[in-house]
Structure formats: C-alpha cells, structure tokens
C-alpha cells in the first residue's frame, strides 16, 4: 500500500514544489473537499472522477434479532471514478 506521505511527496516532486509546500497544498485540498462537500457540492476532477456527497434520509432498519432501529439522516462522501480512469485501469490489466 502506498502511504499518503509517499504519494504527496512524489506529487510535490513531480509538480516542482518542495515537500513542505506539497503537504500544505494537500492539506488545502482536503480542507477544500471538506468545506464544499459539507455544503453538498460535488468536486469534479477531469480525467479522474467526482467526489459526491450523498445524503440519506432517516429510515428504519430491521435488525436480525427482530428489533427495529431508526437510523438518522446522514451524509456520506463517495467517489465516482471517471470513465477515462476506468478505461486506463482496464487497459493496464
């Protein structure tokens, strides 16, 4: 598994910036995703995919023991890979 710090340092080196600046930019990316997805906005990166927050309303779930649980509403962050990414990954197989 490629660790987060390795990917960030390699991306920073490829982008021509230092490791410290790369970590700052990566933190800024995470902050931007957090801020905009909290407002249910979608972040689209061409050639890669979309970060989509999905809101689920409250619902009742039946447990295996027969009890019923009222699940509150919640928002989950999902990632939809783009078609170009899927094609490239399929081509590499």
């Amino acid at each position: 598994m490629t660790s987060g710090s390795d990917i960030i340092s390699r991306a920073a080196a490829a982008a021509g910036i230092g490791g410290e600046a790369g970590r700052a930019v990566a933190a800024a990316i995470a902050s931007a995703i957090r801020e905009r997805c909290s407002q249910l906005d979608t972040i689209a990166i061409p050639g890669f995919g979309n970060f989509v927050p999905v809101k689920t309303d409250e619902h009742i779930v039946a447990e295996p023991d027969g009890s019923r649980v009222l699940v509150p509403p919640h928002v989950a962050l999902t990632f939809n890979p783009g078609s170009m990414l899927r094609k490239r990954l399929s081509a590499n197989e």
Binding site: M1, T2, S3, G4, S5, I7, I8, R10, A11, A12, A15, G16, I17, G22, R23, A24, V25, A26, A27, A28, I29, A30, S31, A32, R34, E35, C37, S38, Q39, L40, D41, T42, I43, A44, I45, G47, F48, G49, P53, D57, E58, I60, G66, S67, R68, V69, L70, V71, P72, P73, H74, V75, A76, L77, F79, P81, L85, R86, R88, L89
Partner: protein
C-alpha cells in the same frame, strides 16, 4: 449547495488556502491524481492523508473510496447530533411504515419513558417521605399518648404509597405509548365513521323542515278547498238524505242554495252593461284581442269600428292604446253572415288608407 466545483475553482480555493498560485495548485492536483492512478494500476490501494484511501476491487476491478475519518465526520457534521434509536417492539406497524410517524413515535416513547422515570422518582420520594412521616408519627404516638388521633393518619398515607410503589413496576412493564396510539387511531376511525351518518341525519332533518315549511306555506289553500268541497258534499248529502224524509228541510235547503243564485242573476246584466277595455301592446294586437274575446281574430274590425275616434291606420296603432271591446251579442257567434260582414269591413277600412 448541490453545485459542482470544477478544477479551476478547486485550484483557486487551494491556492488561496495554501498561499500559492493557481497554476501550482493545478499542477499539484493533477500530479496527485496521476500518482493515485499509478498506485491503483499497480494493484495496490493509495492512501492520501486527510482525504482517504482509494482501492480497487480484486474481483470486479471497481475503484472504491474510503474517506478519511476526519473528512467523513466533517461532511456529516450537520447530522452528527443524531443517533440511531431502537424502536419498541409494540409500536404499530402502520406507525413504523412512515418515517415521520416513526420519528414522532420514537420521540413520544422517549418522552413517555422520561415521564415515567419522573413519576417513579416522585413516587419513590413520596414513599420515602411518607415512610419517614409514618415513622415520626409512630414515634410521636409512642412518646405522646394524648395525640392518638394523629397516629391513624400516617398509616393510610403510607399504605397508598406502598400500594403505588407495588403497582409502579407493573405499570412500567406495560407500555403506555402503544395504548395511546391505539386509542388515538380508534377515536379517529370512529369519528371518520360517524361523520357521514351525522351528515346524512342533518340533511334529513333539514329536508323535513323545508318540506314542512313548504307544505304549510303553499299547501294550505289546497287543504281549505278540500274542506270546502267536503262541506259542500256534506250539505248535498244532508239535503239528499233529508229529501225523502223531511220535505220541509229540503225546501229550506233549496231556498238557501237558490238564494245566492237569485242574488247573482240580476247582477249579470249589470256586468254585461259595463264596457270592456283592453290595451294594445307590442305583442297584443287587435287580432289578438279579437281572438281572446270573440274566438276569431278576423273580428278585429268590430273593435276597430268601436274605436274609430282614437284609431287611425289599423296597422299603426301605438302600443299602450286602450280600446273598447264591444259586446257583439249572441249573433256574433260563428254565423257566416258575421264573418262575411267582418271581411267586408276589413276591406273598407284598408281602402280608407290606401287612397
């Protein structure tokens, strides 16, 4: 909200937050994406600090994403205060079918349980106070024999308290909220069932009242006529019955019945002597008046001849003209001579104005 953030917008946001330029932010984002893609292409997951883990399913080859815990919590921050609630087993199914009703039921259950806790706490406190008071009074009764009347009072208070303390667990074991919902639904269903019947009953009462009012207002003359006819029938029957038995009474009845006829007889010539008037209108001409009074419309000439002082052309009589309708007598019946005379008069009248 519900908008899409494009790469330039994201780069601008990142550049502003990281104190760098947009090109650098864009370049770094694209390089980060390329590194993630290469890691996925190598078959391993790619973890990015603060964002999450990108992985690829070994079987289907799909790309999965597990957000970072901090990022997931931040995105779900508006709903982080809610927690799953286990619903009671005795909740009605129809209440559980609707999420909103289920939410209301859950809130009602929680409120009911809190109220029961409060009641139990209050009862326990009351029981403790009552037992303390009973003990104090018992001690007082032991020490002071003169206050015998005060001794029996704590005992009844302590007994109901103990009784309620005994019944409290049974009441707590029985769910009160479902009974509340059942009663509510039963009462609602009963009201919905009774409403059409009450409406129909009200309509029947109103209809009967309207019928009675119409009958009393417009049906009264018919009743009077019926009674009059019955009275006349009774008189005639009495007269017929009296005829063979009592000739004097029959003569009296004949006199009584014939008296009005004798009184009306001299009045008829007086009425015949009075002139009859009629008025010409836009829809009532001399021919119409003649047909109404004589039975033939070509007898209009007699009306015209009786009103030559006020009439000119027979086809140009102004509406509102009041004319005298002469009495033609019995000879005006339908004899051929009268009809021929009427036709001759009509020719003469028109000849006067055609010159």
């Amino acid at each position: 909200m519900n908008s899409t953030v494009t790469l330039p917008e994201l780069s601008a946001i990142v550049a502003r937050a990281a104190a760098t330029d947009s090109d650098t932010a864009t370049r770094f984002i694209l390089e980060l994406v390329a590194q993630i893609e290469s890691a996925l292409a190598a078959g391993g997951p790619a973890e990015v600090d603060g964002i999450g883990v990108f992985a690829r399913d070994a079987v289907s080859g799909r790309v999965t994403f597990t957000p970072d815990a901090g990022l997931a919590d931040a995105v779900n921050a508006p709903f982080s205060l809610f927690e799953p609630v286990v619903l009671p087993q005795s909740a009605p199914q129809d209440v559980l079918d609707d999420d909103r009703d289920a939410t209301v039921a859950a809130v009602a259950d929680s409120v009911a349980s809190e109220a029961e806790d409060e009641v139990e706490r209050a009862e326990s406190v009351a029981t403790a106070d009552a037992s303390d008071a009973a003990e104090a009074c018992a001690a007082d009764s032991d020490t002071a024999v003169d206050d015998e009347a005060a001794a029996p009072e704590p005992a009844p208070e302590a007994e109901p308290a103990a009784h309620t303390d005994d019944t409290a667990p049974s009441a707590a074991t029985e769910p009160s909220a479902p009974h509340y919902y059942d009663d509510e639904y039963e009462s609602t269903g009963g009201g919905a069932t009774l409403l059409p019947w009450l409406t129909a009953l009200l309509g029947i009462i109103i209809g009967m009242g309207a019928g009675y009012w119409i009958g009393t207002r417009y049906g009264a003359p018919a009743v009077v006529v019926t009674q009059t006819v019955q009275a006349t029938d009774c008189i005639s029957e009495n007269a017929a019955a009296a005829t063979p038995q009592d000739s004097d009474a029959a003569d009296t009845l004949r006199v009584v019945i014939s008296a009005p006829e004798a009184e009306q007889a001299p009045k008829q010539p007086a009425k015949a002597a009075e002139p009859v008037y009629d008025t010409v209108s836009t829809s009532r001409f001399l021919t119409t008046i003649a047909r109404d009074h004589y039975g033939r419309k070509d007898y209009w000439v007699f009306i015209y001849e009786a009103n030559t002082d006020i009439l000119r052309h027979p086809n140009r009589i102004p509406p509102g003209t009041r004319v005298v309708v002469p009495d033609l007598g019995d000879h005006a019946a339908l004899d051929a001579a009268t009809r021929a005379r009427a036709r001759e008069l009509a020719r003469e009248i028109y000849n006067r104005y055609d010159m």
